[in-house]
Amino acid sequence: MSTCDFVLADPVVNTGHTVRTSFVLTVVSALTLSVGTYEMCLSSSGLMPEDFSPVSSEAIDASMSALLSSEFSQKENMLNRLEDLFVELQHYGWDGYGAAPLQRAAYLNTRSLIERMTGSQLAFWNLFPSPNGTFLLSVKNGDIASVSIGDCEYSFAAMKDGVEFIGREKFNSSRALAIVENIHTLLKYNG
């Protein structure tokens, strides 16, 4: 009797992509792989419209790479800003008043949340320092929504059409990501 010579793979790690991002990536990938197939089917069936102009595989490649590039650069920009703030604001009074140095634990917590967020999620947020050494994610477009990240806990507050979503809990990056996704739903950022 022969023995099996294989190793069970680890479960797929959650990359933090939203359903929408995953859907777009899947569809774009499928289109990329199937370029020409649709055209051939139509052509052989005689159903091809005269003005049909297929999208070239190069155009789809460019579109997919632009999407991936945007995802990557949003995250890279946010992580760079976080790093810069943390390195530069290590002295008392950095705000011209009496602000405390940014705290290492708060920095690490903020980084772990940003790493879990997708580029398209991060595009809605600005990152700021707070005078008590913590970090603040605040939405860009004039809506009221912020996430404050401290050494041990984080808090969140969002409001839209009279509905408030607020809370404070022990920091956990996957839980914080779920809170951010809920804020996006409240603010109708999910499309």
């Binding site: 703030l85 008590n132 808090s155 507050a157």
Partner: protein
């Protein structure tokens, strides 16, 4: 009318300025809500109020603002301009703010935004979410003026 500490509340029509020294408090033209957070001083005490200027008495500029650069090339960024009424009418649950001046102070151009119902966060502590909402509203109604 003076309060128990002898401070006078400003008229709602007055315009005030929260001076912003740190460019990191601004991003994409947006003022951080944390520009309206109270600071925790080096000795652990927390500011009693947010320091502001009364624009009718003094306009912040590179000449009028005393500023100690933190590093070479560092400069005053600007200020967030808002009306006293914006502060007095910003209420979230039982949190609010009043803009007051000390009538005995030699610097009458200097005033303070005093928060009510708010227990400030210590160093490393995340912010009170209700207060965050209040500060976010103050930031949202402010106009950024660069100098």
């Amino acid at each position: 009318m003076a309060d128990r500490a002898g401070l006078l509340t400003l008229d709602e029509e007055e315009k005030i300025a929260r001076i912003i020294f740190a460019p990191s408090m601004i991003l994409d033209g947006r003022i951080s809500p944390s520009a309206f957070f109270l600071s925790v001083m080096k000795d652990g005490t927390i500011e009693e109020y947010i320091s502001v200027w009364r624009l009718a008495l003094k306009i912040p500029s590179r000449q009028t603002v005393r500023f100690a650069p933190r590093k070479s090339g560092d400069s005053l960024y600007g200020y967030a301009r808002l009306e006293v009424a914006d502060c007095h009418h910003t209420v979230v649950r039982d949190y609010g703010c009043r803009v007051k001046v000390n009538p005995r102070s030699p610097n009458q151009y200097h005033a303070g935004i005093y928060y009510t119902g708010y227990a400030p966060a210590s160093v490393g502590e995340c912010s009170d979410p209700i207060f965050m909402m209040l500060a976010s509203r103050l930031a949202a109604v402010s106009t950024l003026i660069t100098v």
